[in-house]
Amino acid sequence: MSAGDVIRLSAAQLAEKLTAGELSSVEATQAYLDRIEAVEPRVNSYLHISKDALDTAAKVDSDRAAGEKLGPLAGVPIAIKDVLCTQDMPTTAGSRILEGWVPPYDATVVARLRRARLVPLGKTNMDEFAMGSSTEHSAYGPTRNPWDLDRIPGGSGGGSAAAIAAFQAPLALGSDTGGSIRQPGAVTGTVGMKPTYGGVSRYGAIALASSLDQVGPVTRTVLDAALLHDVIGGHDPRDSTSIPDAWPSFADAARRGAASGSLDGVRVGVVKELGGDGFQQGVSERFAQALEVMEKAGAQIVEVSAPHFTYAIAAYYLILPAEASSNLAKFDSVRFGMRVTPPGGGTVEDVMAATRELGFGPEVKRRVILGTYALSAGYYDAYYGSAQKVRTLIQRDFASAFEQADVLVSPAAPTTAFKLGEKLEDPLAMYLNDVTTIPANLAGVPGMSIPMGLAPEDGLPTGLQLMAPARADARLYEVGATVEALLEQSWGHSILSKVPALVGGDN
C-alpha cells in the first residue's frame, strides 16, 4: 500500500489494517509525518510536531506483536488542538502569552488517548484562546483551507479541520464553544462533533467560556468521530460539570446508522430561524437537497420554530466574553507564560498590564474588555443576567422543538469558506459565522456537522448540522451515519475525495 493510500484511509479502516497486521503503526505514522512535512508549509495547520510519534507507534507495534490486547484505535495517529494540555508538547492555545509553555500535566482527554494507545502527532493551530471563526487570530499565523489556500479553514479549530482535510492526520481533537468544531468542519468538508455539555471532560482544556466549552472529535467520517468519542468521553471526577451517567457505544450507533440506510420514522426538524436571509445561496441549495435525500429515505421533515434563537448570538457574545474575561485573568506573568517588564521596571501591576498588552492579540483584548464591561457593577443585570435568561428561553425552544422532532437540522455555517482577511476588520460580521452553531452551546445539546456537498457557485464544501437533545449523542451518530451514507450515495463519492492536490503528483 502506498503512503498516499495509507493517509487516505479513514481512521476505522486504518485501525482494521493495524489490527489485522497488514500495516504497522510506524508505517502509518511515518506516512503522516511525511505528508505533514510536504504540505505543512502551505497549510500551517500544526503549531508543534511531536518528536515522540514514531517511538510511540513502535511501542504500540511491539505490544501488539507481543499479543497485548489493544483498544480499537491503538496505533492510529491523532492531532491535538493546542487548547489541550500535553505534558510532552508545548501548549499555547494559539497565544503569544503562552509561547513555549509545557504544562506539567495532561488534559483528561489526552490521558485517555494515550491510555487507548493512539499516537499523538502534534498540536494544531487555532484562533488565540479559541476566539474566532477563521484561525486568523492565531498568534502563529493563519491556517489555510486545503480546498483553497487563500481561504480560511474556519475557526477556532481551523488547524484540526485543515489537518484532517489535508490528510495530515486521520483524527483530531477540537473544542467547541460556539461552533469551533462544527463550523470548521463545514468549510473544510470534514466531520465535527460537539458532544452534550458534560459528556467529555474539560479538565486540561484551556478554558474560554466554561459553561459553553466542549471537547470533541474532528474526523473524516461519522464512524471515526464515534470511535474517538468512545475513547475520550465519559465521566471525569476532575470536572465537576462532567455527567456521571454511563454512555452507550457511539461506534455501535454509527455502524447501525450506516448499515440501515433508512430514516424511516425519523422526524427531522428544520429550524425556521436557522436559514433564509444571510445564507449563501449554494449553502441553502445544498441544504434543500440534503432534506430531499433524507425525505426519500423515509424521514418525516417538519418545520419547527425556535423564536429565541434570534437572540442567541447576542446572549453568546455576553456570556462568552464575561466568562473569558475571568478565565483569562490567570495569564498574568507570575506562574507561567511570558513576562513583559515595562521600560524602567515598574510595579507588579505594571508588569501584568504590559504583559497582557503585548501577550494578547486584538480579538482577545476586545472580548476581555467586553466581558469586563458586561460583568461590571451596574451592568450585570442588563447584560450578563439577561443573557442567562435568554439561555433559559433557548433551552425552552429546544425542548418544544424536540417534542416535534427527533433531530434538528440546519446548515452548519451560513457560507462557504471566505477569503483570508475578508472579515478581520469587522468583528460583527465575523461573529455571524456562528449563527447556526451557537444555540447548541447555550443549551448544552449535542451538535454534529457532516459534509453536505459542494456549493455550486464556488465549488467549496458546505456542512449539515444535526442536533439532538442533551445526552442523546448516540442518536446523532446513528442518524448522522445514515445521512452521511445517503449523501455520499447521491454524489457517488465522498467530499474529501475532491480536495485539490496540495503537492504535485500526490493526489
Binding site: L84, C85, T91, A93, L98, W101, P103, P104, Y105, A107, R202, Y203, G204, A205, I206, A207, A209, S210, S211, P237, R238, D239, S240, T241, A322, E323, S325, S326, A329, K330, F331, D332, V334, R335, F336, V348, E349, M352, T372, L375, S376, A377, Y380, Y384
Partner: protein, 504 residues
Amino acid sequence: MAKPELMDFDKAIELFEPVLGFEVHVELSTKTKMFSDAPNPANDDGHGAEPNTLITPVDLGLPGSLPVVNGQAVRYSISLGLALGCSIAPSSRFARKNYFYPDLAKNYQISQYDEPIAFEGSVEVELEDGRLVQVPIERAHMEEDAGKLTHVGGATGRIQGAEYSLVDYNRAGVPLVEIVTKPIFGAEADAPQLAKAYVSTIRDIVRALGISDARMERGNLRCDANVSLRPRGQEKLGTRTETKNVNSLRSVERAVRYEIQRQAAILAAGGTIIQETRHWHEDTGRTSPGRPKSDADDYRYFPEPDLLPVEPSLDLIEELRAALPESPALMRRRLKTDWGFSDVDFQAIVNAGLLVEVSETVAAGAAPQAARKWWMGELSRTANERGVDASTLATPQQVAELVALVDAGTLTDRLARQVLEGVIAGEGSPEEIVEARGLAVVSDDGALIAAIDEALAAQPDVLAKIRDGKVQAAGAVIGAVMKAMRGSADAARVRELILERAQQ
C-alpha cells in the same frame, strides 16, 4: 507619619455611639483543600511545609485546571452555620470574585456572593462581668484562601518599600468560612471587650466543632474589625473603617478601642472619616491607613461556571445538627460545675480567653486546679510580658504532660517552671526537655540521705528537737538540703527521710 490624635475613651463614648461589625475568616482543618486534593496546610500535617509543595495544577491556577468541591469542607461549613444559629440555604452557589493580586493564582477568588451556605444567625457572647450579649450574624460563606507573599528588600518586610516579592501558593485554596456579622449596636463602652469576647467565642465554637485548629498566631482564625461612630442622637450610621490583620484576641480588643478613640478625635474636630481598610500594628498599638475603597473594588461577581449548586438535604442538615457539640454558653455552665471553681476563679479563665485551653488540658488528663494554675499563672504572666495570647505559648497537651510529671514526682513545682520555659522556647515536649536539661527530681534516696546527714551534722540539735516532738524544726534542715541539691529534690521526700532518721 505623625501620631494621630486620640480622644480619651470615656469621653469618646460619651459623645459617640460605636457600631461594630466583624468579618472572621476560619481556616478549616480538612485533610485537603477546598477545591483540590492537595494537602491542607491549615492542619498540623501540612503546617510549615516547604514553599510550593502542597500544590496541584488547580492551586496554581494552571490553564485547563478545574476546581472540585471538598465534600467534607461543605459539611464543616454547614455545622458551623448551624452552631452560629444560622439557617442553611436549601440551594447555595459559588461565585467568582475577580481582582488581580499576585497571591491569587487565578486572579479571581472562588467565594460565595448572593447565595451563601448559611445566613441569619446569632451568637451568644459573655462579657467579663458575666452579662450575655447576642451578636447578630448576617451570613457565613465558603471560599478559598490565597497564597502567601514575602516582601523582600526595604526596611521591614512590609509591602511599602520592598524591592520584590516572593509567592508561595501552599496556602492557596485552603478552605475558609467567612463569618459576617450584622451591625452590632449598643455595646457602648464595652465595645472593645465585646470584640474580644466575640472572636473568642467563635474560636471556642470552631474548636468544639473540631473543624479548625483556630490558632490565631498561625492565621487559622483572622478577624477584620469594622468600626463606625455616630454622634449621640443621630440615626444615620457613620462611615466605617475596616481594620485588617488583627491576629490575636488581645489585638482585637485594642484595635477596636484605638479606632473608637481615633475616629472620635477626628469627628470632634469637625473632620470626616474616610471609608478605607486600615492595618493594625501590634508593635505600636496603632492602625494605619490602607487602601481607600474605590471603583477598583468592582469585583465583577458572577456564578462560578465550573461548579454546581450546593443543595444539602434536610436529612444531612438534621444529621449535622444532631451532632453539634454543646454551645459555648452551655459548656461554660457545665465546666464551672464540673471543676468546682469559685465564680471569681472561673470568670477569670473565661475573661483571659483560656477556657478552651484549660478544658483541653483537663481533657488531656490534668486536674482542673493544676490546669488553671499553669494557664492563669506562669503562661499568662509570660504572655502579658510579651504581648501575645497565652494560647500561643504552649499547647494543652504540653501543659497536661507537665502536670503529669509533677503528679508523678518527677518534677517539683520549681523544676516544672523551668521545663515550661523550655516548652515556651520551643525546645520540645516536657519529657524531652526534662531529658535534655537533666531537670528530673533526684529520686535516688542515697544522694538525699548523704545531703541530709551532712546537714544534720551541721545542726546537731535538730534531731533531738524532732525526737522531742518539735517536728517543725525539720524545716531548717530541709532548706539546707534543698539548697545543697540546687532545688532538684522533692521537699516532701526530704522531710520524710529526716523524720525516718529521727526514728532510728
